[in-house]
Structure formats: C-alpha cells, structure tokens
C-alpha cells in the first residue's frame, strides 16, 4: 500500500471542499497481552488494528471521520469528514484558528533494545509462569496475578501544510499483585510497582529491569503487616507519599488541571473543567517554591514520549509550574493562541480511530534534594503511604481524595506500625503549597499510566508522571474507608 499516495489523494479531496486545513493519519497498532492469575494462565491476546483518519477545517468548523473499511476510498472518507464539518458549522460561535506551526518532515523511532514482538511467545509465557510460581510459593497468600503487555505503533501523518511524519513507538508494561482475603469484607493487596504495573517506552528489556522476584518477599511481609494493622486514623498530619502515589496525585491535580481544553470548558459535560483559569497564568502560586513541574514528551523512556503529537507539532519540554508559580498549560494549535502561547505538542489520539484531543505526555515533578532517610527522619509524627488504589477529584480538579494499599506510622523520624485503608484528602493548591520536601534524583521514577481516560468516545491515553517520594505538611488523612 502506498500510504503517502493515498494520503495525498485525501488532501486533494479536502482541498476540493475548500478545507483551510486538513491532516490525514494512517496507523497500525499491534498489541500482545499475557497474564497469569492464581496459578492459571489467562488467555493470551494479540491484536492488530489499522485504519485511516481525516480531520479538516471548513469555514472554521472541524470535521472528523475515521474508518478501517478497505472498500471506502480516502476520497469518500474525506467527503464524510467534510459533511461532518459542514454540520458543525450549524452551531458555531467563532471560527477555529490554528496557531502557526513549523512544517515537519521526518521519522522518529523510540529507543529500545529488544522489540518485544520478536521475542518468542514461549519465552514470555515461561517468564510469567516462573513469576507466578514464585508468588505461589508463599503460604498465606490466596490470590496472585502477574501480567506483561506490549504495544507497537506505526504512525503516519500528512498535513495540508506540508508535514510528512512517520513514527514507530514500542511500549512495554508488566506488574505483579498479591492478596489475602481475611474475611468476607476484608482483603489486603500489595502490588509492584503499583496496582497497574509499570509501562515504559522500552522493549522487552523492561521486564528484567523491573526485577520482580526480588520484590515478592517485601510484598508478602507487607500483607502480613496489614493483617494486624490499625485503620488509618482521621487527623491532620505530615504525609510522606511514595513516588508511585505522588505520580497519581500529579496526574490528577496537575496534569489534568492544566489541560487547556478543560480550562476553556470544552470538557465541561464529561471530563470536567479546571480551577486554573487563564487569569491565573504567571500569578497563581500553585505550589510551594520548591515545586517545579514540566511537561516533557522527550523524556527518553517515558511512556508518554513521542516525536510529534497528532497534529504534527514537535515534542518538547515546557515548564508548567516554576518555583510554584503557574507558567503554562498543555495545549494544542487550536487553543494555545488563546493564552498567547505556542502549542506544547499535547494533541493526541488513541489510535487511528479517534480524534486527537489535549492529553498529557509526561508530567514531571522535578526532583529535590532529600534522601528517603531525610524525608522520614525529619518527621516527628506523620504517615508514609504507598501503592495507589483509589482516586476521586472534583470537576474543577480542586478537591480530591486518594486511597493507598498500605501506610505506616512515622514516629520520631522512624517508620513504625503498618496502617490499613490509608486515605488522604486535600485541595490542589493548598496541598502543593504544603509540599516541604522532595526526594532527590536517585529516587525519581517516571511512572507509566496506560489507561488515562478522557474524551468521548472514551480514549485511553498512555502518559507518564515523574516523581520522587514527596513530603507534605498539615494534610487531612483517614476516616473514609
């Protein structure tokens, strides 16, 4: 199939409809998923999905159509997108204007050592069977699971402005989880690196790097501790969050809050809005002065990295919050101009089928200078929590509540007894302004989130959130589960 030739036919068809802008994507996505649960293999799943998408602007209104039907010509698909654009024009207040962007031509292949799709399936099965057996060897654990997941994107992009791009992205993920039911209503679980596992822009090598077997005894010990743990007390205290839960707080209270489509109310009915409205730009003290956030789609092995976003803007690194102050948003060419910025290359689609919308790439909390020993040792009375299990945040990304798999008391600068059902709640800006210490770079991990839901029809974006363990003072904990 001559992909470029077909795309050019589509651009010609768009021109015939007097489209002021058009982009055409062709993508092939391969997935392979393996899992074991409770000693039994889950069905192995492989999939391949390929298709075309046409997005265009006619008289300032968007139209979008996508299809995998090989009998449908690119002209017919473009005609369909044009019909949708003309329908959009019926209910339009202002014409869409795109901020200028450089014409891009090139190829990006994500860095990896071993393409997971070249690894024999037998090896992958053996890897999981071995892990399952290692978890099953521990008495007292009555549920266990492990998984491995691989994805390869082969993406082409062509625009009426002249951009021509090709990207190959290889992503791998894996995780383990162990649990014990102690009664009809009580069950304890521990997972590594977190309940959803870890995903990175890497090849098969990720599975070995995660070194799962070394973590199993610690998870078993945690579950033992949970059996005798007290429920999380309800109080205001100093809270140290492990990097795996800090990353989720970042995802919900910073990444989503700074998506410019939310800020302008475009997700009002479904995904919500944001308290961080444009008049706050350059003035809102989002966090304490040690808090610095960047959105970075160039982080080498982070799950949310790429070469260009899905409207052909080159990936980059942009400071969102500098010394605690709001400096920028995640944006697209359509919306960046409304805050006098250029696009941060965050317009992304999940696969060929979906329309691109503003999504996080990697949202990174810059590391601080504290060792883990310091983060704990400087606390006379507090709680350390790890392993995100529950999250809920309001429609303005302002008030939230999170739950974790396990917590521990901190007494006199030392980790003490375990705490079960730990939760904490807060308000975004107050919470980040109460951040008084951030772990150093040696503890910094970019957690991969493979299932960030947004948009209609629902799209699961793959994002990264970078964090070290982080400390907050005067945080409300407990009393909810």
């Amino acid at each position: 199939m001559d992909i470029k030739s077909i795309a050019m036919d589509g651009l010609v068809a768009a021109s015939a409809h007097k489209a002021s802008y058009c982009d055409i994507r062709y993508e092939v996505i391969r997935d392979e998923n393996l899992a074991y649960s409770d000693g039994e293999p889950e069905p192995i799943e492989t999939s391949v999905s390929a298709g075309w998408a046409v997005r265009l602007l006619i008289d300032g209104a968007w139209g979008f159509a996508s299809s995998d039907d090989p009998t449908l010509s690119i002209k017919a698909l473009t005609d369909m997108a044009a019909a949708v654009a003309k329908a959009s024009g019926k209910v339009m207040a202002e014409r869409v204007k795109l901020t200028p962007a450089q014409i891009q031509v090139g190829e990006f292949i994500s860095p990896y050592q071993t393409d997971p799709f070249t690894v024999p399936l037998e090896d992958k099965i053996a890897f999981l069977a071995d892990l399952d057996a290692a978890m099953g060897a521990h008495e007292g654990i009555n549920s266990r699971s492990c998984f491995a997941s691989f994805r390869k994107y082969d993406k082409y992009f062509f625009s009426s402005e002249g951009s021509e791009l090709h990207q190959i992205l290889i992503q791998s993920g894996a995780g383990i989880s162990m649990g014990k039911s102690v009664s009809r209503r009580e069950r304890y679980e521990r997972s590594y690196p977190k309940p959803a596992g870890q995903y990175e822009l890497k090849g098969y090598e990720l599975l070995k790097e995660l070194d799962f077997k070394a973590q199993i005894p610690r998870l078993v010990e945690d579950i033992k501790q949970l059996e005798t743990a007290i429920d999380c007390p309800a109080k205001t205290t100093t809270l140290v969050l492990d990097g795996n839960i800090t990353s989720l707080v970042i995802h919900e209270s910073v990444g989503h809050a700074l998506e410019l489509d939310r800020v302008f109310g475009m997700e009002r009915n479904f995904s919500g809005m944001s308290f961080a409205t444009p008049e706050n730009l350059d003035s809102l003290q989002y966090g304490s002065d040690i808090v610095n956030f960047a959105v970075d789609a160039t982080a080498k092995h982070a799950l949310g990295s790429y070469g260009w976003d899905d409207e052909g803007v080159a990936a980059g690194c942009t400071l969102l919050i500098e010394n605690g102050r709001l400096k920028n948003y995640l944006s697209s060419r359509e919306l960046a101009g409304r805050v006098n910025r250029t696009s941060t290359a965050n317009l992304r689609a999940e696969g060929w089928k979906n329309i691109p919308i503003i999504r996080m790439s990697n949202t990174l909390l810059q590391p601080g200078d504290k060792s883990f020993a310091d983060l704990i040792g400087e606390v006379d009375d507090g709680i350390f929590m790890s392993g995100p299990t529950s999250w809920s945040i309001d429609d303005l990304r302002k008030n939230f509540q999170f739950g974790c798999e396990i917590g521990w008391e901190i007494k006199g600068g030392k980790i003490g007894s375990a705490i079960k059902n730990p939760t904490f709640s807060g308000c975004t800006t107050q919470f980040w302004n109460n951040c008084n210490a951030i772990g150093d770079a040696s503890q910094f991990v970019i957690q991969g989130t493979p299932n960030c839901g947004k948009g209609q029809p629902g799209q699961n974006a793959r994002t990264g959130e970078g964090a070290s363990p982080t400390r907050f003072v005067d945080i409300q904990v407990g009393g909810q589960a």
């Binding site: 039994e40 293999p41 069905p43 192995i44 799943e45 492989t46 999939s47 391949v48 999905s49 390929a50 298709g51 998408a53 209104a61 968007w62 979008f64 159509a65 996508s66 299809s67 995998d68 039907d69 090989p70 019909a83 654009a85 003309k86 329908a87 959009s88 019926k90 209910v91 339009m92 207040a93 399936l121 099965i125 069977a129 039911s181 009809r184 209503r185 009580e186 069950r187 109310g265 475009m266 997700e267 009002r268 009915n269 979906n354 329309i355 809920s392 309001d394 429609d395 302002k398 008030n399 509540q401 059902n421 308000c427 975004t428 800006t429 107050q430 919470f431 209609q456 029809p457 909810q480």
Partner: protein
Amino acid sequence: MTESKAMEVLHKALKQSSADQTEVVLMGEKTDLTRFAESTITQNISQEETTLVITAVNEQKVGIATTNDLSDDGIAEAVAKANQISKLQKPDARFQSFPDTTMAPKLDKTATVETNLNFTPNDMAGTVEAVVKMTKAKNLAASGAFRHDINTVAIANSLGVEQFGRNGKAELSLTIVGEGEQSGFGIAFSPDPASIDYKRAAEAAISKAEKNINPIVLPDGQYTVILEPAAVGQLLLFLSFLGFGGRTLAQQRSFLSNKTGEIITGENITISDEAENPIFGSLLFDYEGVSKKRIVPIQNGKAGEGAFDSYYAAMMGTAPTGHSVQPNNGFGPYPKNLVMQPGDKTFDEMIASTEKGVLISHFWYINYLNPMRTMITGTTFDGTFLIENGQIGPAIKNMRTNQSILEAFSNVEMMSKDRIVYPQYASLMYVPAMKINNFNLVQETKEEWEGSC
C-alpha cells in the same frame, strides 16, 4: 455489514482453524458523536471499525487473535496466530467448552428494536442546535454530547452456534451552565436518535441551572437524601461492577459471594438484568451467542444470582446466563441492562415528605474505596439542593460522599414510580429516584482551607 457478508467472513475463519474448538466474533461499531461546549460544537466525528476476534482452544489452551484486516490474508493470519498461541499456552483447567447449539440455539429475533440507519451528522447537529436555542433563550450556555452508536455483532463457533444482530442506541448528556459555578444536568436515552427526548432533558437541565445559584454550605453529617434517577444509576453501576459479574463471584471478590438468600439491602430493593426489555433496544444474545437471560442479583433485599458466560459458569458449576461481553476484555461477564424495581411515589411526593434533606442530581468521579464493603467515594454535582419542610430550597455547595452502596440501599425509605434509562460506560440502568436516610456527606472544601485553595 450485511448478515451474509458477516457470515462469509466467520465461515472462512472457522474453516481455516484446526483447533479443538474455535469461536469467531465479528463486531462492527459505527459512532457519530457531536460534542459541544459554550453553545458551540467543538468536536464532531463519524467513526467506524469492524473487528474480528478469533479464539482457538487446543487441549484447554486458549489463544486469542484480533484483527480488523478482513482480507483473505488478514483472516488467515489471525486464525494462524490464534492457533499458534493456543498450542504454546499452558492449559487453563478452568476452560470447559464454548456453548453448543443446545445452549445457544439460533434466534429468529436478535434485537428488541429496529435500528435507525438513516440519522446523519446533519441530523445530529440539528438536535444540538435545538438544545442550544432553548438554552440561549434563558441566557445560559449548553455543554454536552449527543452520541449515536450502531453495533453489529456476528458470532459462530465450531460447535455450530451462529447468531447475527444489529442494534442502535443514542444518548444526549447535557450540562447547562450560567454565571460562576451555576450548572444543571440533564440526560436522555433512546435506541433511536430520532426519538431522543432532548426537550425534556434540556428543560430539566435548564431548570436546575436556574435554581443552582448562591450555594450555601452544609456541615458534615448524615442526611436524608433524595437521589434523582441519574444518581441512583451511578450507584447501581458501581454496585454491579463490584459484585454482579461472574468473574468477581468466581474469585470470591463479590459482596454476593457465598451469600445467596441472605439479606444485604432493604426488602424494597429488587435489581434485575433484562435485555429483553425494549426500552434498552439491546441485542438478545451475548458475545458467545447465548440468549440473554433475566437474572435477579438482588430480590427483595436478598442476595441472588450473578451474570455468567460459559467460562465462569463452568467454574461455578452453573449455566451461562448470556452475559458474555466482548472477547478480549479483562472484566469477565457483566450485566448491562439493569432494572431497579420502582416505588409508588411521585417525585413531588418524595420531596413533600422530607422535612430536611438534600436533593442530589448527579455524582462526579465515583471511585471505590473498599470493594468488599461496596464503599465508594465521589462528589455531588450539577445541582445539589437543600430540602426544607417538603420543598426544594437553596443550592448547596458540592459535597463528598464516602458511602457503602449496600448500606445506602438498606436505608431506602421510598422510591419513585417513574424511572429513566441512565446510560454510562456501555451499561444501561432503568432506575427510579430514591429517598435514602443516613447518607454520608462531608464538605468538599474544608473551612480551614478557604482562602488558600
């Protein structure tokens, strides 16, 4: 895709498979969706995809391959891949067999409602235009989405099972907004987009937004609440997610596990799953070709039966209930046409009977805290009002609930006789309004945080 074309693809795939058992499922999805905000269409799409899922089983070793390449080569490659995987995989002792024709006889009628194939993007925009016009007349702005899905499903397996069906569904979700945080929620569902009651949804949302001004703050506490049907639907969805599915039951993770016949809610609660109810416009067979049976997970407050496909039914020593969902999913069988038995009150009577309470239109971002306790968290949203002396009073600032759903359903004082279909996450819930006592509500923004957040 026509039935003959779909069956041609399925037969081609089955013929090429050498597995002990093979199941092939063809799923066609066409979605038209018009999203709007600030009374302007912001996203407008038309998308379609047809996916072939092949499951091959050799000596209890299961392999699944999915493709949307329906060329001869594409089908052959997927069949070969599924067979290859199933030979390499370890045996899954839990797999017994796909359904046979005794369990899944071919149905003459496969959907409850005729599908509207002629509703265009222009028609979609026309409906949105009408909503925007109603909204602007009240100096408010409309946000929302109007979605129309047409699903085609064809199934065949090597034991002779065959089914083909097509159904449609349309939903309109509205948030009407005004000054500041003024907002109101409305929703409508119909199998036919041309029949969607957009006027009623818009009137409800507009009315709510008009009243939702200058919200007062309520202290933390346990309140008598009246949940509108949308809020009840959200709780029911999570309850179902946490415990009605065969996978959670087989894994002993469900609140129904080992409790059949025990009282788990108030006696006035009966929840069933009824795909045959034409109000849903659903298909009458599941993704294994088995007829969807009516199940009753909660009957007059007592724990009842769950939803099973052949895999989990075999594990539990029972029969499949026709609740297999799309292959290639991690959730297992699941009921998607939930019906809650109504009460005998009008909504106005429920309000009039309440001396002091809180009216909740909708919840935002529900998530579970403790699945076994059915403990969830979320905030009230798009219209929360104080009820005083039998009348709806001032708006209330959104509050967070941390609440066991089963406990809430144990404290239901009355329910409305009117119900709506509430759609969410591909599930449909036919639900009444509920008056619930002792419902937990706490302030979302703590008093001591004011000024700093």
